[in-house]
């Protein structure tokens, strides 16, 4: 059996078109696939010496604090902070009331929901936490910290461009001596970044999953 050349060309052409169109490479097809969990830690940090922590009761919107536009939704602050606290507790940490007990380290949570924002290492975060009234334990004066910021021992490794929604979790050990006066040393940091699409419930579920992932990929945080 032989094919005529016209028929042969048509069949081969149809085969090419079908295969080419049908084999389009995979791409992001859901908001959850944009989620990224990035964690860093201080190289020689001893996580077993900081058994007690304190967690401020608010998530700081660093977009607004910086004078920019942001639409960070504080509706779920309590759930997010509770989830962060739960994960630290699972690692063996105990949370104390800073009004009565000096903690070994402090957990800071911040968020931003604007695009193309330079954040983390390049930003003077300190000013946003001045409202937390317990810095006196370590001799910091929140009213006199212009230009101060967290010190990140892993810098400049950090990627500083974020889009859409990002939640930052910092574990700060103010007992460590920073390179410059007025700084406090962050010994662990997490950035949870993704597109803010879907219902609030879905977004909160993704945030919860990503908080869990941040701790899962940081087993060295365990106090045990």
């Amino acid at each position: 059996m032989r094919m005529k050349s016209g028929g042969l060309r048509f069949c081969v052409g149809a085969l090419f078109v079908a295969l080419w169109a049908g084999c389009y490479p995979g791409e992001i097809d859901s908001a959850s696939q944009t989620d990224v969990v990035l964690t860093f830690h201080k190289k020689d940090a001893d996580f077993k010496v900081n058994n007690t922590l304190s967690l401020p009761d608010s998530i700081v919107d660093i977009g607004v604090a910086a004078g920019g536009s942001s639409s960070f939704d504080h509706q779920y602050d309590a759930q997010i902070l509770a989830k962060v606290q739960q994960e630290f507790q699972a690692m063996g940490y105990t949370f104390v009331n800073p009004a009565t007990t000096k903690p070994d380290a402090v957990v800071m949570v911040a968020g931003i929901t604007v695009d193309n924002y330079q954040a983390w290492t390049g930003y003077p975060w300190w000013g946003y936490w001045g409202w937390w009234g317990y810095w006196g334990y370590w001799g910091y004066n929140s009213s006199n910290t212009v230009g101060s910021q967290w010190y990140y021992p892993w810098s400049p490794v950090v990627v500083t461009s974020y889009k859409s929604g990002t939640l930052f979790i910092n574990l700060v050990d103010p007992d460590l001596t920073p390179p410059q006066a007025g700084q406090a040393v962050s010994i662990w940091g997490a950035a949870l970044n993704g597109m803010l699409e879907g219902t609030n419930t879905e977004i909160l579920q993704r945030i919860n999953n990503n908080i869990t992932q941040a701790f899962t990929q940081s087993p060295y945080l365990s106090t045990q």
């Binding site: 032989r2 081969v12 169109a21 990224v36």
Partner: protein, 200 residues
């Protein structure tokens, strides 16, 4: 986009007729090219690729030929993974792509007798333009570079219209080796091409 691709593919199918009209001892081939990444390329993307295209022209002289071949292979991989480096760990869906374009000179030696299936061996050499891309979350990391490379190949051709001088199916297996360029290590993949050729 797909309409444009379809139009381009159909336009390519018209070319053999043009080439046939230009003279004897010319071969024009169009192939569907699949690829299996190896070594460094496999470390980057490991999935077998069904997406690629080959286009070649050969000038025949007796049982040998020389020519020019253009090729494209798109290799990709989708995975959810944690990547670690120093004190940093990054978890998320990663979409990795290698798009390899080649412009190669070729030489072939044909065995067997005219009018029947004919195996051939050959080697191609020239340049590869390789674009590597990783999409993770809302970020993209990419690099691209020109490489010098070589590609030995084996193949055979089968006449389809009862006359090898006009049209035939042919297939090749080719090992593409693109030397390191800049910060990009050598890249390699095995490609399997299936297509048809017109000769006169």
């Amino acid at each position: 986009m797909r309409i444009r691709i379809s139009i381009a593919a159909l336009a390519l199918l018209l070319l053999p007729g043009v080439v046939v009209a230009q003279g004897r001892s010319k071969w024009f081939g169009l192939t569907w090219s699949m690829a299996s990444p190896t070594q460094n390329s496999k470390d980057f993307v490991s999935d077998y690729s069904f997406r690629g295209l080959g286009l070649e022209w050969r000038q025949l002289r007796g049982t040998t030929s020389f020519g020019l071949a253009l090729g494209w292979n798109a290799m990709n991989e989708e995975s959810f993974r944690t990547s670690s480096a120093d004190q940093a760990d990054l978890t998320g869906f990663q979409f990795r792509y290698i798009n390899a374009y080649s412009i190669l000179l070729s030489g072939h030696k044909y065995l067997g007798a005219a009018g029947g299936p004919r195996p051939f061996i050959g080697v191609k050499t020239g340049t590869y333009y390789i674009d590597r891309r990783t999409d993770v979350g809302l970020w993209r990391i990419s690099d691209n570079s020109w490489h010098f490379g070589v590609a030995p190949e084996l193949g055979f051709t089968v006449p389809m219209a009862g006359n090898l001088e006009y049209e035939s199916f042919y297939t090749t297996v080719r090992y593409n080796y693109a030397l390191a360029a800049g910060d990009v290590p050598y890249q390699s993949w095995l490609s399997v091409d299936i297509g048809f050729a017109v000769r006169k």
